[in-house]
Each structure stands twice: as structure tokens, then as C-alpha cells.
């Protein structure tokens, strides 16, 4: 999946949770400093991101997400781990 697609899907998730228009969410947006999110909402973003991309991300990693870029990178790393399996099947 293209990075730009991943990024735009995650922006939509963030928008649903924060009521901030996707166009106003910067790529470097920090959940706490820029979006004023509490830990519950950050976890909600992590859960929805995992759900959207059908990933099984352990608790420890989900709760580390602090920025949009973090989230995109995490999704990419999980997707790349999954891809060989997809090709094999």
C-alpha cells in the first residue's frame, strides 16, 4: 500500500476522533501538542488504525503512538512484515 494512501486513511481516522478536518491535520502532527488528545483518544486512534489495516499490534506498541508520522511508520512496518505471507498464499 502506498504511503500516501496509508496517511490519508489514518488522517480520516484521526478526523473522526478529533472532529478536526483532515486538511487541517499536518503530517507531523503530534497527538498531544497539536491535537490536544488524551491517552484514551490516542488509544482509540491506535485501535482504529489497527482495525482499518487489519493488523495485530501489541498493546505496548499501540500505546507508544504519539504522532501521525509514528502511526504511518508503524502501519508500514506491519504491512511489510505481512506482505511476504500474502504473496506466498
Amino acid at each position: 500500500m502506498e504511503t500516501v494512501t496509508i496517511r490519508s486513511k489514518i488522517k480520516e481516522i484521526i478526523s473522526n476522533i478529533t472532529s478536526i478536518e483532515t486538511g487541517e491535520i499536518r503530517d507531523s502532527a503530534s497527538f498531544v501538542d497539536d491535537l490536544d488528545l488524551d491517552s484514551l483518544s490516542m488509544l482509540e486512534i491506535g485501535v482504529d488504525v489497527a482495525y482499518e489495516f487489519k493488523l495485530e499490534i501489541p498493546e505496548e506498541e499501540l500505546s507508544q503512538l504519539r504522532t501521525l508520522n509514528d502511526s504511518v511508520a508503524l502501519v508500514e512496518s506491519y504491512l511489510s512484515r505481512q506482505e511476504p505471507q500474502v504473496k506466498a498464499s
Binding site: 488524551d38 491517552s39 484514551l40 488509544l43 498493546e59 500505546s63
Partner: protein, 408 residues
């Protein structure tokens, strides 16, 4: 102004993960019992945690004399059994009371969640046609107080207070006021919750469930363990209790109810609401913080709760917080949700009555953030003049109730 009537606890009914009945539960708690085991109510295969504090070997039919237990949700069954046990313990024959002056006030977190879970099972299986009238008959949470009142024939005040994990204390506050305000002469007060997939899923998702042990106030504590149960206290005025020569466990000296108004699931970072609740409860009781002999802490075993509760203790007691014996029975029976503070209220009443306090089990390493005397791993005999029962909940609800030795 005419003096307020004094309110006393004269009966205790308990259904918990370690035992059923007042005497059995109390002895088990003093012995440091372990009520935590692999969850049986539903499969935890897809979870990363697997332990719960379920009530095993409970048959409502052993306790109910009026209602058919098969027509009640599980929380109602637990509560109705606790009500029977409490009235028996108080040596009150409900038939001897004026039903219009006998009431019920109960708390819960989830009401009858098994009923909505059954509904959801059908919804996702596309079998909604199989939902009958039982959903609306059994699910509404006020049916717990309703079933208790119907079981024992109490036709007075009937209040269901679903203020989540502080609900038991809220119900005790409400019931003691109903007596003070002469709206009833006997009240059953307490709380109940059943073991629930929804609750378990939620706390698991928040990463709040401990994988192995519930270790309140321990440096390495990893979380709470969801549980189920019910506790009901018989409350009446001192005058009435004396007149019938009742055994008095303790006096309900005062309470404090506050709201953090801060966050749904996170406590105030300075323990603000918790501190206000404790202060209000002590003020109403006419007591200085130094008078507190024992604290039954909310002490869920999550890193945050125990740290913030300890902070609130330091703010209230100063350096004395290190020396005020404090324990969390959640280390033994898990977090029984709406029943928790009711069970802990019973513990406070028994501690006051018997000068014995239950331990915080699984305590290994002290945490500098929780610099308390947490009655580590062993029950203690000590004079208990005043016991404080704390409970905190989603919604920012805080409730502290003070129990005191009754000196008529």
C-alpha cells in the same frame, strides 16, 4: 434543630469470589484467600489476559424464598441472595416489618450485562427474531433493586444508582439519608454486578487487567482483575436497633460524594475529587483525619489509581499517611465493580466490630509513590475505632463513607 437520627449497620449479606455469607467471607479475607482463577463465563482465547474473579458454586435457589431464580438476571440473583443473607444476619424477619417503611438502594456498574450480551450475540448472528420480551424485562439495571425488593417484600423507597465502580458507596449514602429523612425505617443498601464479557473486553483493551496477580500498591503492580459479586448491608436507626436488641457492627458516621469533572476514565492528576470526598466524609463525621484507624482503599492495582489514591492520602493525612493502616481486598477478590465498595463497606463494618483488618495480598515491593502501611500479606488485630471506605468510578465519581464504632 432536632438531632439527626444515627444510622447503624446491623446485618451483612455477602456473595463474593472467595465465599458466600458474612462469616465465611470475612474469615477467608482475613486468611488472605485467593478468589482469582481462569475465566469460565466465556472464552478468553482471543484475549491476552485470562484471569477473573468469578463467583463459583453459587446457586441462587439456595437463598431465594420468593422469586424463581430462573426469572432473574445474574446480578439480580447475586443481590437477592445477599439480601436474604443480610436480613438473616440482622435477625430481621421481613414479614415483621411495615413494608411501606422498608426500602432498597443498590448500586451497579453494568446492571444485567449478560442480557445485552445475549441480545448482541443474536444481533451479530442475524437472529434478532429470537429476541423476546426477556430483554426489556430483565436488562434494565433498576431490575436489580426491583428483584431484591420483590424477593423480600419491601415496598418503600426503591432506588437503583448505577454510578459505576463507586455505586455501592453511593447507594449506602442514599440509604442512610432515606433513614435520616424518615423515608424508611429499614434499608437494604449495597451493590451487585455480574461477570461480564463487555466489562472484561473494555478493561482488557485499556490494558488495565493484570496478567497474573492483582497487587495493589506494589511497585510492580500491573493492573486490576475484573470480578463479580454482591453485598448488602442492613441499615436502620440506632434507636430502632437498640430497641430490638440488634447486633450493631458499626455506625455510618458520614459520607462525601464528589465529581472530578475532569475525565471519563482518568482520575484527576492531583487526586482532587478523591480528597474532597474524604474531607467531606470526615467533616460530616466530626472527625479529624488523625482519627481514622483503617482505610479500605479503592486500590484497584492499576499503576495510576494506586499512585493517585496514595497522593490524595498524603494530601489529607500528611506524613501520617505512611502510618494509617490501609488495605485493598481487591488483591483477593478482584474488582467486583458496582459490588466492590459495598463489599468493602461490609469489610469496614466488620473491621470496626472485631478490631481485625484484612491484608493487601500479593505485596512484594514497596512503591515510593504509594508510601503506605498497606497491611502487607497478613491480617492484623488492632483497635479500629474509625474505618474509611473509598471508591472511585468512571465518570469521575468519588465516594467516601466513614464507619465508626457505635457507642450508644
Amino acid at each position: 434543630m432536632v438531632a439527626q437520627p444515627r444510622i447503624v449497620v446491623t446485618g451483612l449479606g455477602l456473595v463474593t469470589p472467595v465465599a458466600t455469607g458474612r462469616r465465611q467471607t470475612w474469615e477467608r479475607l482475613l486468611a488472605g484467600a485467593d478468589g482469582i482463577s481462569p475465566v469460565q463465563s466465556f472464552s478468553t482465547e482471543k484475549f491476552n489476559v485470562h484471569l477473573g474473579a468469578e463467583v463459583h458454586d453459587f446457586a441462587a435457589a439456595d437463598h431465594l424464598r420468593n422469586l424463581d431464580p430462573t426469572t432473574l438476571g445474574r446480578a439480580s440473583q447475586l443481590a437477592a441472595a445477599a439480601a436474604r443473607l443480610a436480613l438473616d444476619d440482622a435477625r430481621i424477619d421481613p414479614a415483621s416489618l411495615d413494608p411501606n417503611r422498608a426500602g432498597v438502594a443498590l448500586g451497579t456498574t453494568s446492571g444485567e450485562p449478560l442480557e445485552v450480551e445475549r441480545f448482541d450475540d443474536r444481533l451479530v448472528a442475524d437472529q434478532l427474531d429470537r429476541v423476546g420480551d426477556e430483554f426489556i424485562r430483565l436488562y434494565p439495571c433498576h431490575m436489580i433493586a426491583a428483584h431484591v425488593a420483590a424477593e423480600v417484600g419491601f415496598a418503600g423507597v426503591n432506588t437503583m444508582i448505577p454510578t459505576a465502580c463507586a455505586a455501592g458507596n453511593y447507594a449506602i449514602a442514599h440509604a442512610s439519608d432515606a433513614l435520616r429523612w424518615d423515608r424508611a425505617e429499614v434499608m437494604l443498601a449495597g451493590g451487585a454486578d455480574s461477570f461480564s464479557r463487555i466489562t472484561y473486553t473494555g478493561f482488557a483493551r485499556l490494558g488495565a487487567i493484570a496478567p497474573e496477580l492483582c497487587q495493589p500498591f506494589d511497585r510492580d503492580r500491573k493492573g486490576m482483575i475484573p470480578g463479580e459479586g454482591a453485598a448488602i448491608l442492613v441499615l436502620e436507626t440506632l434507636e430502632r436497633a437498640l430497641a430490638r436488641n440488634a447486633t450493631i457492627y458499626a455506625e455510618v458516621a458520614g459520607y462525601g460524594l464528589t465529581c472530578d469533572a475532569h475525565h471519563m476514565t482518568a482520575a484527576h492528576p492531583e487526586g482532587e475529587g478523591a480528597l474532597r470526598a474524604m474531607t467531606a466524609a470526615l467533616n460530616e463525621s466530626g472527625l479529624h483525619p488523625d482519627a481514622v484507624s483503617y482505610i479500605s482503599a479503592h486500590g484497584t492495582g492499576t499503576p495510576t489509581n494506586d499512585r493517585l489514591e496514595s497522593k490524595a492520602f498524603r494530601r489529607l493525612f500528611g506524613t501520617r499517611s505512611k502510618r494509617t493502616p490501609t488495605s485493598s481486598i481487591k488483591s483477593m477478590i478482584g474488582h467486583t465493580m458496582g459490588a466492590a465498595s459495598a463489599i468493602e463497606a461490609a469489610v469496614c463494618a466488620l473491621a470496626v466490630a472485631e478490631n481485625r483488618v484484612p491484608p493487601t495480598m500479593n505485596f512484594r515491593q514497596p512503591d515510593p509513590d504509594c508510601d503506605l502501611d498497606c497491611i502487607a500479606n497478613e491480617a492484623r488485630e488492632m483497635p479500629v475505632e474509625v474505618a474509611m471506605n473509598n471508591a472511585y468510578a468512571f465518570g469521575g465519581n468519588n465516594a467516601s463513607v466513614i464507619f465508626r464504632k457505635c457507642h450508644p
